[in-house]
């Protein structure tokens, strides 16, 4: 009897630890799709990721209310991204091996997505980076189980350069004021390269590197006021951007220079003076036009109803991940005549997948990178009469072909390959 119990117990342990009993690995339909949403839930980046977490909750409810994905309910769990990169890698393993999550969505920090990618391949777990901005991820090569459902940050910085050159054909001087870390330095590098390639006589008069999330900018603003650049580029975000806006506006920096902010939240538009350039990594409250594009209007309205705020870009990016995952799983299930696909098969279905999201049409290329439009506008001080969101003037949308690094190319080499001055 005791031997029998041992054998049964041993078999159960084996099943739990080694055999493909996990929900997404099983070939029969699982009872649920367990998804880990890894976002900043605490610390300085938490407000930035709040819309992403809210959207994940909203869409989980909405998807489950209509039967889940391919008839299987979603079970989303929320994990804090705050902490060291080493911790995040260890936690990723815990999520897959102990929590048995089938899919991981998240990672705002570029350092974290770079570190987690090889582990995702090692553990053969479908992982979607919905907001991770670094173009270095694709420069390192393609990870089989890793997908990005939004274009990387090079696109909005290239678009920033094209936008300002279109608005200011006589541009003479530029300056950058970016957090001193990879995202700040890479983004400024792309913007500067694009400007200099298109208009080589532009002078770079200043490159300032405040501390990550710095809130005191007296010296930087003094320097920028003294330099008088035509254009100032910044990817600063969070409390640091709010502080910079307050301090720069009071001192007249926006009156002197054309300030371009690639990354920002809807609430920050409210404190900007008229005429400041804002992208917010894609200002989707305005594009695709919610008055004519139902997917955007429905998402915006349901989000506002539930959370009493407009979704920030991080919310749209999370929606993009959910709306990409759904057709990928459905396509993979269909390809197997209704049988449940493996992670590998879902990944294969995602390659080359085109889908509609609240932020418009998206294509995930064979190299697992998404392509979508980039957009810029300037603050108007007005709100949309019907829906109430802040309106940007001189709003321009840049097609992916103009701003997204082509498949098989590296971003810097691609920009450098452009003919000079055109």
């Amino acid at each position: 009897m005791r031997n029998s119990i041992r054998w049964i117990g041993g078999a159960l342990v084996l099943c739990a630890g080694y055999l493909p009993c996990g929900p997404a690995l099983a070939q029969s339909k699982p009872s649920e799709i367990k998804i880990a949403i890894v976002q900043f839930l605490s610390g300085a980046a938490a407000p930035h990721d709040a819309a992403a977490v809210n959207t994940a909750k909203l869409l989980t409810e909405q998807f489950n209310a209509s039967g889940g994905i391919a008839g299987v309910r979603l079970n989303t769990i929320y994990v804090d991204e705050a902490g060291s990169t080493a911790d995040k890698v260890a936690e990723y393993r815990r999520l897959v091996q102990d929590e048995k999550v089938a899919i991981v969505i998240g990672y705002t920090s570029s350092a974290n997505c770079l570190a987690v990618s090889p582990v995702a391949d090692e553990l053969k777990t479908l992982t979607i980076f919905q907001v991770c901005a670094t173009y270095r991820l694709i420069d390192k090569g393609v990870y089989k189980y890793v997908f990005r459902t939004a274009a990387h940050s090079a696109s909005e910085n290239i678009a920033a350069a094209l936008y300002v050159l279109a608005r200011k054909p006589d541009l003479k001087t530029i300056a950058g004021m970016n957090y001193d870390y990879a995202y700040g330095r890479d983004s400024w590098d792309v913007f500067k390269r694009t400007i200099l390639k298109r208009k080589p006589d532009v002078q770079v008069v200043g490159e300032l590197w405040p501390k990550f999330l710095a809130t005191e900018y007296s010296s930087e603003i003094s320097r920028l006021l003294a330099l008088k650049p035509d254009v100032i580029h910044t990817v600063n975000w969070g409390a640091g951007l709010t502080s910079f806006i307050n301090q720069a506006e009071t001192r007249g920096l926006f009156e002197q220079s054309f300030v371009m902010m690639t990354t920002g939240l809807v609430s920050q538009i409210g404190i900007l003076p008229k005429g400041a350039a804002f992208s917010g990594r894609g200002y989707h409250l305005q594009h695709p036009d919610p008055q004519t594009y139902a997917a955007n209007r429905d998402y915006m309205k349901s989000y506002k109803e539930k959370f009493n705020a407009f979704p920030d870009y991080t919310g749209y990016f999370m929606a993009q991940a959910f709306y990409g995952l759904k057709p990928a799983i459905e396509k993979a299930v269909q390809a197997k005549n209704g049988a449940w696909p493996s992670n590998e098969e879902i990944g294969a279905a995602m390659e080359g997948l085109a889908f509609d999201t609240p932020r418009g049409h998206v294509l995930v290329r064979k190299d697992h990178e998404a392509v979508n439009e980039a957009m810029w506008g300037v603050t108007s001080g007005r709100n949309n009469a019907e829906l109430g969101y802040p309106v940007l003037d001189d709003f321009r949308v840049f097609p992916p072909a103009d701003v997204v690094t082509p498949e098989g190319k590296q971003t810097v080499e691609w920009i450098e390959s452009w003919p000079a001055g055109k």
């Binding site: 605490s42 610390g43 300085a44 980046a45 938490a46 407000p47 709040a50 001193d180 200043g206 490159e207 300032l208 590197w209 405040p210 501390k211 999330l213 710095a214 809130t215 005191e216 007296s218 010296s219 930087e220 003094s222 320097r223 006021l225 003294a226 969070g238 409390a239 640091g240 709010t242 502080s243 307050n246 301090q247 506006e249 009071t250 001192r251 007249g252 609430s267 404190i271 705020a309």
Partner: protein, 298 residues
């Protein structure tokens, strides 16, 4: 354009802000011998409470003089409530322990308070930029400066003068000096040491909250704002010498001027310069510029 006056103005105003956020740390260490890691959280709570009062009582009329007393009120309430509470419940139990126990206790408190703030105020940013904008701009050295940092300079000078007056011209100050010199002897002479500890920690907490409350108009008040400040504050008091208010003031001036000069002349060095200065000072004088070499009783 002559950049020297710009460096001086930026350096002094930045130093004033630094002094406001770091004076409490050095004061508490001087009296209680506890390196208060939770100082950043008390700073953030001061910012949250100040911002809450401004939003609640000033409403849309943020660009009003009444906002300044509201910010001050936030700091006073934090000093009067959290200060004594933390000292009584936690710190009093670790004075006799090794210094690392005090460090770990305040670190644990820091983590707890970060979550408490999230529970009370959520993660949405609070914006009270009205007082900052109210003071407009001042034209000097060929460019415009905001008026509010000069207000911060006045607040920092007043806080420094208050500390100096309390320590050197009041009975309480003399008792504090006795406790700093020798706790056991001070107790033997009839000084109520636990009472001094409590008041000193409450005063240090008030200073932390004052720094936070008057920083609120500069930035958005949101989670994590105390973390970055604490590192900077430790660097400043390390340069000045832990426990020395005068040292903290000089440390702030050195760091403020060095940073302003770096941004104007060598922007790549902006981050390095503060910590390079700290390393240089500590290599030369491990106790900091104004720190006293401590004699250990055996």
């Amino acid at each position: 354009m002559n950049i020297l006056p710009i460096i001086l103005i930026d350096g002094i105003t930045y130093a004033s802000w630094l002094f406001l956020v770091s004076a409490g740390i050095t004061f508490i260490f001087g009296v209680l011998r506890i390196l208060n890691v939770a100082h950043g959280s008390l700073y953030a709570i001061g910012a949250y409470l100040g911002a809450t009062f401004v939003l609640r009582f000033a409403g849309q009329n943020q660009q009003s003089w009444t906002t300044l007393p509201l910010l001050l009120l936030g700091a006073i309430i934090v000093g009067l409530t959290l200060g004594p509470l933390i000292e009584r419940l936690l710190l009093r139990r670790v004075y006799d322990q090794d210094e690392v126990v005090g460090l770990l206790t305040t670190f644990a408190l820091f983590l707890i308070l970060e979550d408490v703030m999230r529970l009370i105020w959520g993660i949405e940013p609070y914006m009270v930029e009205g007082p900052y904008r109210m003071f407009g701009r001042v034209h000097m050295a060929g460019i415009a400066f905001a008026g509010y940092p000069f207000v911060l300079t006045i607040v920092a000078v007043l806080a420094g003068l208050l500390l100096w007056f309390v320590l050197h011209h009041t009975s309480f100050g003399r008792q504090v000096t006795c406790v700093i010199s020798d706790r056991e002897m001070a107790g033997a002479l009839g000084i109520n040491v636990p009472r001094i500890d409590l008041i000193a920690f409450a005063l240090g907490t008030f200073l932390a909250a004052l720094g936070g409350a008057f920083t609120a108009p500069l930035t958005s008040v949101e989670p994590g704002m105390g973390v970055s400040v604490i590192v900077l504050a430790f660097a400043v008091v390390g340069i000045g010498g832990l426990g020395s208010i005068g040292g903290a003031a000089v440390g702030c001036l050195i760091v403020g001027l060095a940073r302003a000069a770096a941004v104007q002349l060598f922007p790549e060095l902006e981050l390095v310069v503060i910590y390079a200065l700290m390393v240089a000072v500590l290599l030369w004088r491990p106790q900091g510029l104004f720190g006293a070499i401590e004699l250990r009783k055996i």
